[in-house]
Symmetry: C2
Subunit: 250 residues, 2 copies
C-alpha cells in the first residue's frame, strides 16, 4: 500500500543571518522525536533560507529610482520596495493592473521577483530569494547527511501564483537529492498505450503537499515527507523552469 | 503535531460507463481496510469519473472539419482527435508550435481541452472532462455520506501544464465539501504583520499531493488524504478558475 506522510516541523526559532539552518532543523527534528529515514524529503520554506543567508534588505537603506517611484504609484507599493524588486529583476514579463510579473535574475517567473515582507521580524524589511536555491538545498542536504549518515533529499519551497487559476501554490525553487521531474515518456499505461510526453513536476507537487502542513500564520517553516518512492538521482530546481523557447506565455 | 497521510486506493477495477463509481470506491476502501474518518478528503482522478459518466468518444464516429484537419497537420495529431478538442473548446487561448491551449466549455484553461487518450481500454478512444466536475464531486460525496454517515470532502483531479514551469501537476477540477481557497487576507503572520492578499489554492495542493501516490502507470486512480484540517464549508472547483478580468495571460 502506497502511503505518504507529511509532518510539520515545529519549534524552529527565529532565524538570523549567519545561522546554521541545517543544524537548527536537525535539532528541531530531534526535539520532535522524528526519526530520519532513507529517502525522506525535507521541505524548507524559502523565507527561513533567505534569513539564514542574510538575503534581507532594510528599506531605509534603499533609494528608489525615478522608474521605481513611477511604478510605485501604479501598484500602490512603497517605492523602495519596488526598487528592490527591480534590482532582483532580469526582465519584466508583464506589468499591468498593479501587478508586476518578472523573470528574476535566477530565472524564476513570478510576481514581485519573490521580494516579500511577510513573516519577517521588524518593520520595513523585505526578503529576497536565495541567490542559488539549488546550492542552498545542497548545503542543507550535505550537512544533514554528514551528521546523520541518512541519504535524504531537500527542497526549498516558495509560494507562487500562476496564470489561469485563482490562488497561489507552493513550488520548488531549489532541489537536491531527487529528480524534480518524473518523465513517463516511453512508458506504458496499464492498457499498454505508450505515454507520449507526460512529465510530472513531482518536486513542485512535493512542495505543494508540504505547504498543507505549513500555512502562513502557524510559524511552521519546514516539513518532512516520508514514503515517497524516488530514485536517488540528482536534479536541480532550475530544471523546473520552462525554457523561454518552449514557453508560449512570456 | 500536524501530520498528513495520503493513502493510494488500490484494486479499483476497469470503470465502465454507467458504473456507480462512489460504490466502487467505497468497496475498494473496505477491501483495503481503510477506515473513513470525519474530514477525510477523497481525491478521484478525472479519468475514472469521465469513464463512469460515459464521457468517451470513439474516433471512428468523428468526422473532422476542414479546420481540424488543417490543425492536425501542425500538431501531428489525429484530425479526429483535434475535432473532438475543438468541440470541447469555448475559445482558443494560444495556438503555436504544435500546442493548443484552450478555454474549455467548462471554463478551464488547459492543453487540448482535457481530451486525452491515455489510461483508456481499447484503441482510438478519447476521454472528455466531466460536463460539471463539481456536480461529479457532489454526487460521489453525497453517496458516501449517505452510506457511511461520515462527513468528508471530494476532489476530482486532473493533470495540467502551466506556463513558465516545466512539467505538469495535478489540480482540482471539481470540489465538494471544502473551500478550495484558503484566504489569509486580514490575518496576521507570527510577527504581527497583516497579510495583505495571500490566497492559497489548497484544493490544487491537495490534488498535487494525491498525485504523488497515484502516478500514471500504476493503476491507482484515487487517494484518501487524512489529517488536513479544514472547515466544513462548501466551495466549488470553479472558484479556482481565475476570472478573465483578473488574468493577465489570456
Amino acid at each position: 500500500m502506497s502511503e505518504l506522510r507529511i509532518i510539520g516541523i515545529t519549534g524552529i526559532p527565529e532565524i538570523m543571518p549567519g545561522d546554521n539552518l541545517a543544524e537548527i532543523l536537525l535539532q528541531a527534528l530531534l526535539r520532535q522525536k522524528i526519526v530520519l529515514e532513507e529517502k525522506d524529503i525535507l521541505v524548507v520554506k524559502q523565507k527561513i533560507v533567505s534569513k539564514a543567508e542574510g538575503r534581507l534588505v532594510w528599506l531605509k537603506d534603499v533609494i528608489p529610482s525615478e522608474f521605481a517611484r513611477y511604478i510605485a504609484v501604479q501598484t500602490g507599493k512603497d517605492p523602495r520596495h519596488i526598487e528592490v524588486i527591480l534590482r532582483e529583476t532580469k526582465r519584466i514579463v508583464k506589468m499591468d493592473r498593479g501587478i508586476l510579473i518578472v523573470e528574476t535574475k535566477q530565472g524564476f517567473v513570478c510576481a514581485n521577483a519573490g521580494v516579500d515582507e511577510s513573516n519577517i521580524a521588524g518593520e520595513e524589511v523585505v526578503s529576497l530569494l536565495p541567490l542559488d536555491s539549488d546550492a542552498s538545498a545542497q548545503r542543507i542536504r550535505d550537512y544533514l547527511i554528514q551528521k546523520t549518515g541518512i541519504p535524504l533529499a531537500v527542497i526549498i519551497s516558495d509560494t507562487f501564483g500562476r496564470p489561469w487559476r485563482q490562488g497561489l501554490v507552493d513550488v520548488a525553487l531549489g532541489v537536491c537529492g531527487l529528480k524534480p521531474i518524473q518523465n513517463y515518456k516511453g512508458q506504458r499505461d496499464p492498457y499498454g498505450h505508450l505515454l507520449k510526453a507526460t512529465e510530472i513536476a513531482v518536486a513542485d507537487e512535493l512542495a505543494s503537499a508540504a505547504e498543507l502542513v505549513l500555512g502562513k500564520t502557524t510559524g511552521v517553516p519546514a516539513a518532512l515527507i516520508k514514503g515517497y518512492p524516488y530514485v536517488l538521482e540528482n536534479g536541480k530546481g532550475t530544471d523546473l523552469i520552462r525554457p523561454a523557447e518552449r514557453d508560449l506565455f512570456r
